[in-house]
Subunit: 148 residues, 2 copies
DNA sequence: TCACCAAACTTGATTAATTCAAGAATCGCC
DNA sequence: GGCGATTCTTGAATTAATCAAGTTTGGTGA
């Protein structure tokens, strides 16, 4: 549970996004940095280590505010609950383990804004491509079970 | 609400996947063919047009069975509920509208099993790549609102 | 430094999607 | 046609997330 960035840095991130700096938000940002790809429940618990009295609603509100401002990114692989990550402005994608649900980051192979060209865009104005690689993490791949 | 494939064809699909052929399952398969990318609630309603007495649980069970057998594919773009599609064995991806949630299919630009090479796989055994293109559908793009 | 006010937070209830569980009905095989 | 396992019905329970009303707090301008 180490603090990767100090409170003042995180406050700057919030100010930079025109968001008010509150204790719950700073604690939440720290929690997301500490627990990449964590779900909401994990984040609530992590925030409460620093601020025991924070309500779950404050965390939900903050997650929405920070996600809306582009400070956090929400991801939600197929049967999973919502998870959040401190979004760096790179264009990275995710590896998800079918067995244990572990998530890892992968840089995009093609470039900075790749995959943005679909074969046939049906008239859609495409803004972003999200890629999820499904497979088995090293630990689960080593386990006997061939395919769960 | 036209039947795209007749009941016997759908029954064959089920038998081919070693699944028992039941009225709810056949009706569900037909419903998924008729309503591509529909959510569970829509499918329950569609199934009940043909079989009014079907329980929601039967639909949930059938969706799990057919998804597990590879006859259907479950997709769930970021804040959306689960949606299902009759999975043809091609490797196609999805266009999702950020405004209205509309989903369209896109063939994969790169080939049959593309994108399967990530820059750095972290030791994962990658089996499949899922791509979601986020943007705005023609209708929503035409609407004044620049970004919702 | 102080006071104000909108934004953010607390508290507590509510919704929506999905799952769990026990017993009845049905499918496929013999 | 009858048997046994699977599937379906019924109804309750869980979980994630949202809604709503009232209180507190951060930031701005006096």
């Amino acid at each position: 549970m180490e603090q990767i960035a100090d409170a003042e840095d995180l406050a700057q991130v919030l100010r930079g996004a025109s968001l008010r700096v509150t204790r719950p938000r700073v604690a939440l940002l720290a929690a997301v940095h500490d627990h990449p790809h964590a779900d909401t429940d994990t984040l609530i618990r992590a925030v409460r280590v620093a601020l025991p009295e924070v309500s779950h609603q404050a965390v939900y509100d903050s997650l929405h505010a920070l996600t809306g401002a582009g400070v956090l990114r929400r991801i939600q692989p197929n049967g999973s609950v919502a998870r959040y990550e401190a979004r760096i402005d790179d264009n990275h994608h995710h590896l998800v383990c079918r067995s244990c649900g572990a998530i890892a980051d992968v840089d995009c192979a093609v470039g900075d804004a790749p995959c943005l060209t679909a074969a046939h865009d049906h008239g859609f104005a495409i803004e972003e491509a999200e890629v999820i690689y499904w497979g088995r993490c090293p630990t689960c791949a080593a386990t006997s079970a061939p395919t769960p």
